[in-house]
């Protein structure tokens, strides 16, 4: 019983930081370079990164790819549907999978699932990226302000975070996404929904990153004050900020990378619940929601589900690798 339970104690003393510091080759390199070296060696993380790049390219060139495939995502192909027999299922086997339609077609209207999945990456990534950006912007700003000024400012912002964390988020997001009219803020249609979703998702996720930044800021501030006391007089706040930000980049980067997949899931969930981007625009969550009624045709739910899974997994793999590279102790 003793032997197999053993935790490798070597890690306690073989401090990789010390090891690396001493490595002749990379002496004097920045933490960023060291992290990059480590990251390059992490094949799984690189694999995730490659998938992410491919996904982003796919999203950017979605229209082009779809043109090549030749089946616009919203185009009906009801000739592939059993309308006469009344089942409305794809006439081909396995949900109508063929060379022409590798992922099969949707029941009822026969839309090409592959094109829709590809187009869905656009919405998914766009919303996830910008929502993350928004969360990071709000979270970082308020986190720094709270951590730096302390006192009642900190107390106020911390309470604000508490309130946000006490909200039943999803319920709230659904409600909000459901009541906003179709034309608002000078936008309409898809662009309004996308902006709205970015805002809702981004706005509700900031307290998490806010907490991290606040904690980091406080600990850095403590350290800085010690230094400042030693050196000549107090430092000016702006200097502190310029020193603060570089130190915050690593945790923010890691957290942002890991927030993106969360936001992809969030968007998918909202679309699944019917408050995402409006029909007929293809979204992964929306496709899953459509597939619910056709659970007897698993191909319909499989592809969008897989798309979500692969995307989220890729971001998680890369995020994990990035964290390990930037903070080796977490390995």
């Amino acid at each position: 019983m003793t032997a197999p339970l053993e935790v490798e104690p070597g890690a306690a003393t073989a401090d990789p930081e010390a090891v690396l510091k001493g490595m002749g080759k990379i002496e004097g390199r920045s933490l960023g370079q060291i992290a990059w070296m480590r990251l390059k060696r992490d094949k799984v993380a690189i694999g995730g990164f490659v998938i992410i790049v491919l996904l982003i390219l796919m999203a950017i060139f979605a229209n082009l790819i779809i043109k090549l495939i030749g089946h616009p995502p919203n185009q009906f192909n009801q000739n592939l549907i059993d309308t006469v027999g009344g089942t409305l299922a794809p006439t081909g086997k396995f949900g109508g999978m063929s060379w022409e339609h590798p992922f099969g077609v949707e029941p009822v209207n026969g839309r090409d699932i592959m094109s829709r999945v590809i187009y869905g990456s656009r919405i998914s990534l766009l919303i996830a990226f910008f929502a993350t950006l928004l969360s990071v912007a709000i979270g970082t700003t308020l986190g720094i302000v709270a951590g730096f000024f302390g006192g009642w400012v900190d107390a106020f912002i911390s309470r604000l975070m508490d309130i946000f964390l006490a909200f039943p988020l999803l319920v709230f997001a659904i409600a909000l996404a459901g009541v906003v009219p179709d034309d608002a803020f000078g936008l309409k249609g898809d662009s309004l929904r996308i902006v709205l979703l970015i805002f809702i998702i981004g706005f509700f996720n900031w307290p998490y990153i806010g907490r991290i930044v606040r904690g980091q800021t406080i600990s850095l501030r403590e350290r800085e004050f010690v230094d400042a006391a030693r050196s000549l007089g107090a430092r000016r706040p702006y200097i502190l900020f310029t020193e603060l930000l570089p130190n915050l980049i690593a945790p923010i980067l890691v957290y942002a990378t890991l927030l993106i997949p969360t936001n992809i899931l969030f968007e998918a969930a909202l679309s699944f619940l019917g408050v995402g981007v409006r029909a007929p625009t293809a979204t992964w969550g929306g496709m899953l929601s459509d597939a619910v009624t056709f659970y007897t045709m698993p191909h319909f739910m499989l592809w969008p589900g897989l798309a979500i899974f692969i995307t989220v997994l890729a971001f998680n793999l890369f995020g994990d690798g990035l964290r390990d590279a930037l903070d080796p102790r977490s390995r």
Partner: protein, 342 residues
Amino acid sequence: MTNDNAFLSVRDLRVHFPTDDGLVKSVDGLSFDLERGKTLGIVGESGSGKSVTSLSIMGLHKGGSARISGEVLLDGQELVSSSSEEVRLLRGKRMAMIFQDPLSAMHPYYTVGHQIIEAYRVHNNVSKAVAKKHAIEMLDRVGIPQPDKRVDAYPHQFSGGMRQRAMIAMALSCDPDLLIADEPTTALDVTVQAQILDLIRDLQSEFNSAVIIITHDLGVVAELADHIQVMYAGRAIEYGTAEDIFDRPQHPYTWGLLGSMPRIDRERTERLIPIKGTPPSLINVPKGCAFNPRCNYAHLNGGASETERPELLDSGAGHMVACHLSPQERQKAWETDIKPKL
């Protein structure tokens, strides 16, 4: 330097860790002896392998990824080849250890008493009540006031010095023959440091145990150690009595350590011989003398330091040194460059 009276005998100890970045040779061929009632000081910078050495002796690297070779003989019993279970039974009972930061070294969720009782009961089949009485006794013995009350306090409720006393009480609870103190005073105030060192010395004479003190601070070993071993990059580079090391240090690295030692009896001046550069990588240890990139005297012997690793050789009366410099060169450098500035 074999010694038949040695209670602890380490022979060609090597501790290597395979990592993603390469093989880390934390300890790379270390040998020394220690008799009962004697104190050995192991000195070196962080990463020199001194802590790894102590943990290896304790068997705390067993079962992990570490590759350990060589021999560790504790009262004649070879530990490197012993099973984890055999070594475990010795840990705490025949050999015990005190750690650097007593706050992190004690479990924050358990009372000090609980942790001493636990240590005692591992090796002594007694009731909790008896063990508790023993724990109170031990706390009393290390000079903790009101031990019957403090026994139920948590580590965070102790002051730094008191915590280290409690730590020592825990280590000594089973009357070990070998006590390893790893930087026992580093985390403490200067005034408290002296008290703790006194305590270790008193207890050592009382228990007649062998003691290894591991430190980067020569000042600590100056007070306690009978012998001192200076380590650099996983190897011993100088070994001798305390007088040897303090009065007739032979290795340029030892000079550097002496020069960076703060002394109460001396005005605070600039460092005499700042050790330039950083400790070497334990993966790519510099060829030849591992210290040569940082050594001010490496040029004196025509490049031998850069190509050939110096052996640890007896330079007379058990004072051993690993350096390519001739005894005369070392003598001269010590007398003219270093000693006057100390």
